[in-house]
Symmetry: D2
Subunit: 379 residues, 4 copies
Amino acid sequence: MVGYGFMGAAHSQGWRVAPRFFELAATPEMTVLVGRDATRVATAAERWGWAETSTDWRETIARDDIDVVDIVTPGDSHAEIAIAALDAGKHVLCEKPLANSVAEAEAMAAAADRAAAHGVRAMVGFTYRRVPAVTFARDLVAAGRIGAVRQVRAQYLQDWLRDADSPMTWRLDKELAGSGSLGDIGAHAVDLAQFITGTRLASVSGVLETLVPERPLLADARGLSGTASTERGRVTVDDVALFTGRFDDGVLGTFEASRFATGRKNALRIEVSGSTGALAFDLEDLNALEFFDGTAEATTQGFTKILVTEPEHPYVGAWWPAGHMLGYEHGFSHQARDFVEAVAAGEQPRPSFADGLQVQRVLAAVERSSAEGSAWTAV
Amino acid sequence: MVGYGFMGAAHSQGWRVAPRFFELAATPEMTVLVGRDATRVATAAERWGWAETSTDWRETIARDDIDVVDIVTPGDSHAEIAIAALDAGKHVLCEKPLANSVAEAEAMAAAADRAAAHGVRAMVGFTYRRVPAVTFARDLVAAGRIGAVRQVRAQYLQDWLRDADSPMTWRLDKELAGSGSLGDIGAHAVDLAQFITGTRLASVSGVLETLVPERPLLADARGLSGTASTERGRVTVDDVALFTGRFDDGVLGTFEASRFATGRKNALRIEVSGSTGALAFDLEDLNALEFFDGTAEATTQGFTKILVTEPEHPYVGAWWPAGHMLGYEHGFSHQARDFVEAVAAGEQPRPSFADGLQVQRVLAAVERSSAEGSAWTAV
Amino acid sequence: MVGYGFMGAAHSQGWRVAPRFFELAATPEMTVLVGRDATRVATAAERWGWAETSTDWRETIARDDIDVVDIVTPGDSHAEIAIAALDAGKHVLCEKPLANSVAEAEAMAAAADRAAAHGVRAMVGFTYRRVPAVTFARDLVAAGRIGAVRQVRAQYLQDWLRDADSPMTWRLDKELAGSGSLGDIGAHAVDLAQFITGTRLASVSGVLETLVPERPLLADARGLSGTASTERGRVTVDDVALFTGRFDDGVLGTFEASRFATGRKNALRIEVSGSTGALAFDLEDLNALEFFDGTAEATTQGFTKILVTEPEHPYVGAWWPAGHMLGYEHGFSHQARDFVEAVAAGEQPRPSFADGLQVQRVLAAVERSSAEGSAWTAV
Amino acid sequence: MVGYGFMGAAHSQGWRVAPRFFELAATPEMTVLVGRDATRVATAAERWGWAETSTDWRETIARDDIDVVDIVTPGDSHAEIAIAALDAGKHVLCEKPLANSVAEAEAMAAAADRAAAHGVRAMVGFTYRRVPAVTFARDLVAAGRIGAVRQVRAQYLQDWLRDADSPMTWRLDKELAGSGSLGDIGAHAVDLAQFITGTRLASVSGVLETLVPERPLLADARGLSGTASTERGRVTVDDVALFTGRFDDGVLGTFEASRFATGRKNALRIEVSGSTGALAFDLEDLNALEFFDGTAEATTQGFTKILVTEPEHPYVGAWWPAGHMLGYEHGFSHQARDFVEAVAAGEQPRPSFADGLQVQRVLAAVERSSAEGSAWTAV
């Protein structure tokens, strides 16, 4: 695994826990943790349970005893590592967003195509697809339980930048992060909307906005934020992204990504209105899915709050008895499981790099639209 | 109408508004408002729209042009007025609780029986039965939509006595009010549980408690409370009533009435668990009914929040288009409508005085059980 | 009052009930109901409690004993009647939207200005401002309780057109209704957003869409809908309106109006994110306001569900004791009260015709933006 | 660890994951898994990550390299194993309920006392104390944020026995399980109520009921249930337990444990009403705590839904960034951490065996009260 920040912890937990709850075709071994700073990477490896460490990812991907490379670095290094790993015949799991630019993402998707010809697999980590309630939402749509999709509303609302004096982090620097709310959290909203409906955004009209353009520089990182220094730096990414999109079947969707939605901590929400039903999900209530069945008797129609915690629901049977809640990191176990199973079966794990590239193109189209007065822009 | 406090306002609104939204067999005329204090009753009559006033209810019920007597005084005067009115051949609507003692309630039920022989009708005002969501809950149980009733949970939670320095009112004086939380609000919980399940409590085990036994006397009444004087008086009724009851079909129910449930303003709640489904209602969300259909496909089961605001729901079609919320006082219009329709049709309006007497007997059994160490006590 | 449909019933209820609960400077008398069909207007007058009827609104506004004209007809006749009434020296309450075109609305606002010079008042009926939770939200923003407004999200979601076979009504005919979701319900979202934040939309970028372009013609009207004939007609208004707006202080807001939001019956929702707090309201839970206080201790922050049912809240003290729910039509009593009080005090009631005109301009800008590829369009 | 059912999986996950997220004074090693069936225990050990297996717990606790014995067997074997382990100088973590009888629990508490004299520690596994929202609720009460406790409502509602044809399991056999809903889930409600309020139940009045007295025998166990055989057996434990309790400070609480609460999957709920505030928690929404602050300004009072997912909340800082949800099993990591830290610090971990014994006495008092017509019974 290359990288060991927040996502490194989450992926490690996925690799460690997945084989305890799922019957896997192959058991993952947590071999090498790679990072630039030898001391830090050693500490992280002990913390997160990796057997060895390295400061040279090229050396690591050259090793014969390494089959899988998991990339959890910031987006600016994804392309170089992923392409090298794929070309070296390693299966790759790469955290989202696939890359910081469409060009990089295209190169990665091309590398994934080349690799696939030799049975080498690449997958991008849109983990929220694997929250059981989300997977189940997709299943209900696919089974026609809401009829034809008519409208989509997707939001990812957080508020951790609400304080204008909270400091800069790499997530606010366009060079490192590629984009702001749009790429960091809006990408999840896009992926979820496309995943659940089974369609793809074809064109968008949107606006990006930086509400607080200058912030104190970061003295010391902690979690997603840290303590402030006295110097100030420029925020070069968007704080808020608002856009309307048209899917390839003509359906309209509205999208918002914000880190200034005061009081909303992790509200990835999606509502899909169909001709005979509707679905609503909120990550702040991640074990539940709201389902409206418009084919039920008129008097008893309403949104049903399904606790997606029963053995019959996706992934859930592997965990606890009925009615026991799962948390954020369970998605990483589900991801690890699905990746291992697909690789073992010689199948393409989803979302593929091509899927990740398509999300990247949506984000790029939103940026272009914003730059051109919200003109409708093809993806 | 005799009396003109909070309930007087509510009943007046019911009589005034019902004929505007429902087709009634007879149109109520708001003729005489009766009270002890001539000045006050005159003010109230103008405020609430009564044509005349009187300080002598006996005189009023003797009038030939009066067909209906509506009693909204405190419980200690219900029996005398209601019996006289029935004996005078007037149809009677009497606010709950029917009386302050079982003996009085028995006399009233007997008078109602006598009167019924001449086509004169009596009804007690458990208005919450006529909240559309409650009526609909009853309908669903009756239609077998939750199977056999297995358990009942009923609560009426308020917090207006939470402040130990809020003053005495007539509702805290056993002489006037008969009982405290038990009779004032617990009675509603009992009536609702029996109404929705279609069964009756046969025995109870409970405890009554006065949490704040002394309070400042009331200097000036306002709403349900008022401003405090410097003198203190004894609270002679219960603040909290907790009891378990066994219905005549053997089902167990739990009941709580409290005016000390901090933060709960008007939470009359009932949950009925059945063999194939369940229902839950909360008056603080009075337009909604939660319904769990255990016969639905396993994966999509959950509590459905039904907005009981559609034309197909009880009473609702008479009001606004779909999706428009009703409020507290609509129940009084529904009550006025049902009373008028039953009287016009020569039928017994429900709840009858016999129904009210039975609730009174439940309350009395709870009091006896509490006095005898929560021993199970037949109703 | 001119007109007697759904809005006629609601306004009648407001006039009838307001003086029972509020001390008014003048008591409204419900004198003449005006409509084109003599038989129907007579039936409606009896139903809704008007003393006389007329089929000629010009004659009625000429009467000396008429002080106020309340206009509840479809939008295409608002301008003619309102201007005539104002010019005749009658105070006017006109249901929203003010008119079907900006030109008409401008003429109306000009007439209102002329009339104001003689102490004659005009008001437009955006009743939802007077839901206590909404008025209270405005008060909290004005008091600085959420700091500087940073983002606004407003939606009005209904689903009564979800069925592609539900028939045409005048609300789907551009000639009569002016616009579809945008003007009918989107107008409320715009008014609420502006009312609560105290700012005005300066420019918009949006898209209108008709999801079901042909429907059966209406055989017989009932409620907002009716039964279908075998012939089909063209829907000439929008089913869905999506737009982003920039307020005059630079804040961005997102707006949606839809009659295809399956399962949402009357979900007028608004969320305002501020620098130190946030507010969220949903008309489907009209007695509640969600308030996030970002200045509270970090560990106890969260959205507080305020039951706006206490005597201290706007309008509520006039009704029932604490904790008793109000319904949809109470807003019409509040409107009647505020109108009467403003007129009696010689003050301009709000929202004024100028306010209504400004909303109309927003709607027109959205239409233009939609026609021009969602280009940003000044209001 | 002795035992490897549902609780074995949960405890294993706790031991495995705790050291990855918390800095522990000592790192747990998962050495031996003990069970009666050699084949099954070997499978379980591989699944849950234990290095060795044994079919003889006596042999295992005699080993010098074993410091801690974790007991997750059914309640009938707790006493024998725990006492032997403590006497052998091993620290013991024992799953709740402490034992199947008060006599056994007393012997265990005595053994724990003896062991404590030598620095050997014993703890009982009421894991739900360590859900962050529950720990935080305790903190708020202790800090006086709700004033004096006035009332407690505690429920544990499940519905997995709702189907009268679902088969017998060891949980329905009094010999193995000790009691039914009362001991299995009611024990959690008792522990939580006492933990959060910091008081203990002194007397109780209650009733136990078996709603379905005969069920098919179990052919094959799966999760908490399994498939049915054609033979039938007698349910010898309670399906529903209802009781009222008086705490040692005089406060009254109501309690319910039910496995027939249709639609409720894992609803461990507690509401504490205090003189100046209130708290409400529901395990089905385990990342949230509802808090009513009665000292706030009157107009903005209401229940605040606190997402207990911020770094400032108990345990949460060790996991993910703000706003990320935890699940059921995180409590087992918290338990492992607290146990290790207390043992390392030479302190008594809580809940102690004495705490477990006291809960056992409450359960026994409820059983006696039920047998004696709900008479008030001292704990």
